[in-house]
């Protein structure tokens, strides 16, 4: 039975509808929270609610790329650059997670991997001989190697002891956080600074700028290139083929003669290496020293983004840019209205829930499949079908 049916289009619609519903939800929440309690009449209150919600949504949806001078709309350069810069670490973690997800393995250790990567990179950024061009490369490589090594621990435990990577990689995040902070505090703390930060990086460690005024660094270029390269590796190389086959059916991969255990190990380590550079790019691009006191959460964002992108590295790019856009939008909204930018978390949660909920709109899909199937059947048998 021939059925030309693009299920991917359906996924696209579904994601679009999920985003639409989430935005509507956000609008409704803002609307209700913005009805003034001292409104003269109910009608007045509702109108004020709408006005406020519209105002908030204007900032939220357009803020990152538009600024207003009077009624004139201008390109918001600062906002757009903030949007791109903020998307860099979550593109990278999204890629890292999508690599392991492609093999249907789990990595919730990206957070720890990027944290340790950044800590190790800090030492190199501060102390490595100040050779231009070479310096940032060495810093990034250090971060990647550290991230990979950090991923080796749960991967080895999985391969040798059959310990669930879910638990061990999660635990490694805490080890990374406290050990990392300890290392920074003990060996490389800037005692002249008021808070816990590292010594400033050597000037040569700085990533080149595309726009120096608002500090748009080439991290975004690295992220885009990484996405394309990882897509190519997964789609076009024999290694990527093994990874995807394992992800589809590990029993089949083993039966076919693929060394599944070793590929699974490699996947975890590769993912760790990618995750390792996530925080470092931001640090040597936008900032000039190590200044995290907490885990930045990019690893968790990576899981969300990889899920939303269905593990396709190119979609990771789109999903991460989308998330960073609504986050920047929420911040701008927060600055211009009195609505807490944290509302964006509600939207994120709603989108993820709807996109991952298999049954969401599946009836619609089933109906359209049935309709098509009947059409094919009619064409084949020449009989009218209800």
């Amino acid at each position: 039975m021939k059925l030309k049916f693009r299920i991917d289009t359906f996924q696209l619609y579904r994601t679009g509808i999920a985003i639409g519903i989430a935005l509507l939800l956000g609008y409704i929440i803002i609307f209700f929270s913005k009805i003034p309690s001292d409104a003269a009449s109910l009608w007045e209150g509702v109108r004020a609610g709408f006005d406020n919600a519209n105002e908030a949504f204007k900032w939220f949806l357009l803020g990152p790329i538009v600024r207003w001078r009077g009624n004139e709309m201008l390109f918001n350069e600062r906002g757009a650059i903030q949007w791109l810069n903020e998307s860099v670490p979550i593109i990278i973690t999204g890629l890292a997670v999508s690599i392991v997800f492609s093999a249907k393995q789990f990595n919730i250790g990206a957070e720890g991997q990027l944290f340790m990567g950044a800590v190790a990179a800090t030492f190199v950024a501060v102390h490595f001989p100040a050779i231009p061009v070479l310096h940032p490369i060495v810093v990034i490589l250090t971060a990647m190697v550290t991230g990979a090594l950090w991923a080796v621990v749960p991967a080895l435990m999985k391969a040798k002891l059959k310990a669930s990577e879910l638990v061990s990689s999660l635990m490694m995040n805490y080890v990374a956080l406290y050990m990392g902070l300890f290392l920074i505090k003990t060996f490389i703390r800037d005692t002249k600074a008021g808070s816990l930060v590292s010594l400033p990086f050597a000037a040569t460690a700085q990533l080149p700028f595309i726009n120096e005024r608002y500090r748009l660094h080439i991290g975004i270029v690295i992220a885009v290139v990484s996405a394309v390269v990882i897509w190519w590796i997964l789609r076009r190389t024999t290694w990527g083929y093994q990874v995807r086959l394992i992800g589809d059916n590990i029993n089949f991969a083993q039966y076919s003669g693929i060394a599944t255990q070793s590929v699974v190990f490699q996947v975890q380590v590769a993912s760790g290496a990618v995750a390792g550079m996530a925080g470092t790019l931001e640090m040597i691009g936008y900032y000039d020293r190590f200044l995290w006191l907490f885990s930045p959460g990019y690893g968790w964002d990576g899981i969300i983004i990889a899920t939303l992108a269905r593990n396709n590295p190119l979609f990771v790019l789109v999903a991460a840019l989308f998330f960073s856009y609504i986050r920047v939008g929420a911040k701008i909204m927060g600055r211009n209205t009195d609505i807490a930018p944290e509302i964006v978390s509600i939207l994120q949660a709603a989108i993820i829930l709807l996109v991952t909920a298999e049954a969401f709109l599946s009836g619609l899909k089933q109906r359209s499949i049935e309709k098509r199937a009947r059409k094919v059947e009619e064409a084949l048998t020449g009989r009218e079908v209800k």
Binding site: F252, I369, R374, K386
Partner: protein, 534 residues
């Protein structure tokens, strides 16, 4: 008897204009109408993949129809779940039994409805209930024995009693004879007759024509999801039925040249395997496969075949014993080394191991050779060459698919198996391990695969064929071994003149050949045992 039923013709069940479209777009049932009369044995006949099982799953509430009406006892009903179906008086015996192996027969039958005696289950009463229920319908079962200790035929009886105890009036049997030996089949048919004599109605799913002729009153034939027709069995010949089922005349005989046997390719030496639960599944199995012959292995499922194949193909390590390929004992046998040594493997569980469902046909046919030229060079795949190669296979093996980039889950069962076979037959193997290569696929595809096996053998390949289908074994094999409880109990050098009944006797353990007859095929002889102890 028969006349009386057809004359009364009161229908217990009617299904009208049933449609079922699966989420992958496959139409399992289209415009299906079926009417079953009270007190008849109604055979639902059709090839594998014709939609018989789906239709019955809809009736039993396992699947929901896309559209259509069901009338039971004249009333329109909606069957939301098996629970509902059971409450209405419909029972189903599935192809794969749904029994708890570690519980007794009585416990299995009464699961969820045990007679209570204080807080504990009244065992004596339970035994009595089940014994009575069985005797009433001529189905005696050892109520106190555990399921794992009784034969497949017995287990099936337990399943039938299970439905009866739950008040079933309409009993659906899904290919009940597929797992039975000829002797057990006769017993089953006797029991079915008693059931209908006592007023029950039976729907019997099958694709075996001789069985229909033997047992059924009426048939409804399904083909590709459509009803081809309903008829009285007595008015039909087997040829007519087969034409309805397949849509053309099938020529089933495979022409076979005499085997030209070459050197020994695969040698299995005193293989033992003890499962995790300490059950010895293989007890010193030895045999060899030579170039240019097909060695068939017969046996009731669960007598060690699965483990034997897994050990030979490197998926499982034996407890004891050796596998030699080309007279070289394989030290580190795993799927990779097995394939390297020239073995290919058609697995019995094709959905679990034979294919990756979400992947494309292309990705599935290169899984054992993706790293070789021309499929890749320097670790980079060559998509165009892979596509060209796959298109060649699609033509050569007549795989019905509109694009080599279609994911395998969109294919029918027979075509999925052709994907597996296409890969394994083109691997350049010297030894082919074919484990149930035609199970659950349509006649056309089965015939094709059997012919391919014979052709490979004529090319000098050694074939090991494990099959539950005795007709197939007798038709294709050059020699046959019978496996019973992990031992080789019979060996036939000559297949000519061998009957299914004879094989059945050995498969059931009724007969076994003497050590002398078995020559090298038995478990260790006395001297071997001494040797091992030393």
């Amino acid at each position: 008897m028969k006349e009386m039923h057809s004359d009364t013709g009161v229908s217990i069940l009617e299904m009208r204009d049933i449609w079922k479209v699966y989420p992958n777009g496959v139409i399992a049932n289209a415009n299906v109408d079926i009417q079953v009369r009270k007190g008849e044995i109604h055979a639902l006949l059709g090839e594998n993949g014709a939609g018989k099982t789906t239709l019955m799953k809809i009736l039993f509430g396992f699947e929901h129809p896309s559209s259509g009406k069901i009338l039971y006892d004249g009333k329109e009903v909606a069957i939301a779940s098996p629970h509902k179906a059971i409450a209405m008086g419909i029972g189903m015996v599935h192809q794969h039994f749904m029994l708890v192996p570690s519980l007794t027969v009585a416990e299995n039958v009464l699961l969820g409805m045990e007679p209570k005696k204080g807080l504990s289950v009244g065992m004596a009463k339970a035994f009595e209930i089940v014994r009575q229920a069985g005797n009433q319908y001529g189905l005696s079962v050892p109520v106190e024995k555990k399921i794992e200790d009784i034969s497949v035929g017995m287990r099936q009886r337990v399943e039938i009693i299970k439905t009866l105890v739950r008040g079933a009036n309409l009993i659906i049997l899904d290919e009940p004879t597929a797992v039975l030996t000829p002797q057990e089949t006769v017993e089953l048919f006797k029991a079915l007759r008693i059931l209908v004599d006592r007023g029950k109605t039976v729907i019997f799913i099958t694709h075996k024509l001789n069985e229909v002729k033997q047992i059924a009153d009426r048939i409804t034939v399904l083909r590709k999801g459509h009803v081809v027709g309903t008829a009285e069995v007595k008015d039909m010949t087997q040829v007519e039925m087969s034409r309805m089922m397949v849509g053309r005349d099938v020529e089933m005989v495979i022409e076979k040249k005499p085997a030209v046997v070459g050197p020994e390719l695969l040698c299995v030496k005193k293989l033992h395997y003890v499962r995790e639960d300490k059950v010895a599944v293989l007890n010193g199995v030895s045999f060899s496969v030579r170039a240019g012959e097909i060695l068939g292995i017969a046996g009731v499922e669960g007598n060690g075949q699965t483990e034997l194949v897994q050990i030979i193909t490197g998926l499982l390590s034996p407890s004891k014993g050796d596998i030699a390929v080309n007279e070289k004992v394989m030290r580190r046998l795993n799927p990779k080394t097995a394939r390297k040594s020239g073995m290919s493997h058609i697995p019995s569980d094709r959905m679990v191991r034979g294919v990756a469902l979400e992947s494309t046909v292309e990705e599935n046919v290169i899984s054992d050779r993706y790293f070789k030229k021309p499929f890749s060079a320097y670790g980079i795949q060559s998509p165009r060459k892979i596509t060209r190669f796959t298109k060649g296979l699609i033509d050569q093996f007549d795989i019905r698919v509109d694009s080599s980039k279609r994911s395998v889950k969109m294919l029918s069962g027979g075509n999925i198996q052709k994907v597996v076979v296409a890969r394994e037959f083109t691997a350049g193997a010297k030894i082919i391990i074919a484990d149930q290569p035609t199970r659950g696929i349509d006649v056309g595809a089965s015939d094709f695969i059997r012919r391919q096996l014979v052709e490979e053998r004529d090319q000098g390949v050694g074939v090991l064929l494990i099959s539950a289908d005795l007709t197939e074994l007798l038709e294709v094999s050059d020699r046959i071994l019978v496996l019973y409880r992990g031992e080789v109990v019979a060996h036939f050098d000559e297949v000519e003149g061998l009957t299914e009944e004879t094989l059945g006797e050995y498969m059931l353990g009724i007969k076994r050949m003497s050590e002398d007859d078995l020559k090298g095929y038995s478990q260790e002889t006395a001297t071997d045992k001494e040797g091992m102890e030393r």
